[in-house]
Subunit: 488 residues, 2 copies
């Protein structure tokens, strides 16, 4: 497959110099247009050792406006990176809309190396490629333009290039024993790379394989690919239709109607059981975290369902150093310029820690859906994206505990009125809360669909009857204990 | 000193319940006002083991609107945190303007523990307190409101509290051998804490010592202190005067006039020396980084001085995984809501890495001064702040290499015109560049003052004659080699 591009094409210096002005002008023009175009560009520079990845990356840096470039080269993961889910470190440096990022040393490097040195087998390698495909797909679906460049050189050419570097006293130090070790198995690595390129050339994120033997040819080909793909994309009309709020609907029959809201716990029973459960939670959490396990707790529910109260009771069982509480409200300017999952990736727990989200990524299929901040296509796609995201976390050993606290419409109204009566709770109740009530049916339908589609065996939703606060709080504590116990 | 507060004051449950509505209302009102007030609030919760730090932190969480709270409890530093300058981890979680952050387990914890267990001596402890003072001062000068709560309990009361916890089967596990080890030397720790409190009670960030024996009294005192200090501050008129641009000035005689702009290197000489220097830089960088040392390179200079070109040549000697290039432009919304040094702290290199800043924190005393984005008081204060900041980095073992690339007015005009003639460089030249030229005297005066005041023995500025690009690039490479060599 790679051989097909190995045509030995050369570009003379004079031709190169003559071609540059036009190419650079095109690149800069496209980059300037990109600024307001609302999507990010992700450039991957991959290929064999000594294929000229750094040289071309440097050339792109020179040709583009470096002020609007993001550039990162991933080496071996640091201890901090290893303490987080595998893709966490890649999410950190994703470019916002309007920017170009160049990644040399990226999510392909490690699986390919591990496969080359037989640290992982064929099945595991295929699984790693599948993870990459999902990762790229979720970004591409959100509008990211992928330009994936694969620099190919054959074994003989690699040898020549390594020898040339060694021959020059100024560059000799750049060739290490590791390079020659890689060279010895170049053909095996090539076959592995071919598999990677084949399996991850999806419609939205296809590879461009470039003959890398001649430096000038490689640079020009890379620059032109970037210019062409970017220009082509900029010409397309922006496909995102104006999102529309959900139409009003008649009272839907949903899973929420079957919740038994009559559950009740007396004060005495609560006091007795809560103390015991808090102690148990505390012991389990210490044991769980000491084993360097981590967990994510998600609290969702309609306004006034009692999320905050349940969280405050729960954290009494925890040491402040064990957890981080993330209250989720409207995204910031910076967050809006990224994929909607980006801001949640930032706060994922490291091993040995808990993260508690008071509202979460489920906003995508709840408020964003109902209020029309996300298009129909965006929120429908989100179920799969969220399931994939949680699968990633679960595969990385993170325990996911997700709650939907449910109350009746009448109880919600009672709580709103009670809040208004207490001066220090008035801030919790605004005209918007009443407006949201008017959309109750739409919110319930969205919640029901979410519960149905995102309750997976690896990350089940727990539907908590919360009409009685005490009952809800005990249920939360019990569920947390159970989940931690199961994971131990 | 602490004994003075130990009055054994108790609050009865009825009184506590009666006092809460008013306190909670006050807190919420103040928090709502804070939103638009343009400054952050930093609450520190410190004190002995079992003094009730977590309990009061939880109470504050319950009383305040948790959506606008930041909360962090620092434990032992992680490997990633240890690979960065000491205060890096604290800067990460500083609250933006309009928010309250509660830190339980903070920058006081480690020095006090190390001193208590005699891992550091008296002089080193005093030095650590001095670092804290500077850190808090720079934040307070920028408007941060500090509320530092110290919870005091005497040895007898600590024993009672520990025993009470141990006695109850539900909380027994919370008392560890470490707690009793700390208890045994409680009086020695108290004296160390007294020193810390005394030495860091500055005008802008004074401690409030609270008798912590009675839970309700402690909670109320903490809540009231927060409410009072916040209300008091909100009542003060915003002191920041409208910044004014520098008045025009007659041609200043400065250190920049003495730069020999006649320095020149022929193409042949350049080619020969650049190759050798790149090789040398590369070897030195590998050796330097292998030893887990780190460096920061700062490039400053007027428009078109050749910063970008010098950086691109330099990075040819580096592996992309060795460095991160940070081009600095106008701050984002999120960055503007923080101290101006915050965004630079985010990208500080970890051990074994380089960070290259294309423009930097010196913008504070250059463009922000000249264009009037910073007030006179703000930019005058910045020299000291920057020197302290760089001292911190240098003390942490980071090598600082700072360049000012200098060109004449005529050369700058020639370069502007040359850029306009080349289509792919037109983007680099805007009407603003010409406007900046008109302010040349003000910019030169600002640059000269910066060079004079921020060229320290631990972080000297290198003034590079850049009229001839080749000469400038060689000087940069030579300086980098020299600095790395000296540090090895």
């Amino acid at each position: 497959m790679f051989e097909a591009v190995a045509l030995g094409q050369k570009v003379e210096k004079a031709d190169y110099d003559a071609a540059l002005p036009e190419l650079r002008t095109r690149l800069l023009k496209a980059q300037a247009q990109l600024e307001g175009a609302g999507f990010p560009v992700i450039v991957l520079v991959n290929g064999a050792d000594a294929a000229g990845k750094s040289e071309t990356t440097n050339a792109l840096h020179e040709w583009l406006d470096a002020r609007y470039l993001v550039s990162e080269a991933y080496g071996e993961p640091t201890e901090e990176e290893r303490a987080h889910p595998a893709f966490w470190r890649y999410w950190q440096w994703l470019p916002p809309a309007g920017r170009i990022a160049i990644f040399q040393g990226n999510w392909y490097t490690q699986p390919i190396q591990e496969r080359a040195w037989k640290k992982i087998g064929a099945a595991r390698f295929a699984h790693e490629l599948e993870r990459i495909r999902k990762f790229e797909q979720t970004l591409a679906d959100d509008g990211a333009l992928f330009i994936k460049l694969w620099f190919h050189i054959g074994k003989r050419d690699q040898k020549k290039r390594l020898e040339r570097l060694e021959h020059n006293p100024e560059t000799r130090f750049r060739v290490t024993r590791e390079d020659w070790r890689q060279h010895a198995v170049h053909n095996r690595i090539l076959r592995i790379c071919e598999e990677a390129v084949r399996e991850t050339s999806t419609g939205l994120a296809a590879w461009k394989v470039i003959d890398a033997v001649d430096d000038r040819n490689r640079n020009l080909s890379a620059g032109r690919e970037l210019a062409e793909r970017l220009e082509e994309r900029l010409k397309q009309p922006r496909v995102r239709p104006a999102p529309v709020p959900e139409p009003p609907r008649s009272d839907p029959q949903t899973v929420l109607d079957r919740v038994d809201l009559g559950k009740h716990v007396s004060k005495d029973e609560y006091d007795a059981r809560a103390a015991a459960l808090l102690g148990k939670t505390s012991r389990l959490a210490r044991k769980f975290l000491r084993k360097k396990k981590s967990a994510i707790l998600v609290f969702e529910g309609v306004d006034a369902a009692g999320k905050g109260g349940a969280i405050r009771r729960l954290v009494r069982a925890l040491d402040a150093r064990q957890y981080r509480l993330i209250p989720v409200s409207a995204p910031s300017e910076e967050e809006r310029a990224h994929h909607y999952l980006w801001r949640f990736y930032r706060h994922l727990p490291r091993r040995g820690k808990l993260t508690i989200y008071d509202r979460s990524w489920y906003g995508r299929v709840l408020v964003e859906r109902v209020e029309g901040f996300a298009t129909h296509e965006e929120w429908s796609r989100a179920y799969k994206e969220i399931n994939d995201f949680e699968r990633e976390l679960s595969d990385d050993g993170i325990v996911l505990i997700k709650f939907w606290l449910h109350i009746s419409e009448d109880e919600q109204l009672r709580r709103f009125q009670a809040r208004e009566a207490e001066p220090w709770k008035q801030h919790k109740i605004t005209a918007e809360d009443y407006r949201n009530r008017a959309k109750k049916n739409a919110y319930e339908a969205a919640a029901a669909e979410m519960l149905e589609r995102c309750s997976t065996e690896y990350a089940p939703f727990v539907l908590v009857p919360a009409e009685d606060k005490r009952y809800a709080r005990l249920t939360v504590l019990e569920t947390v204990c159970e989940s931690l116990e199961n994971a131990l």
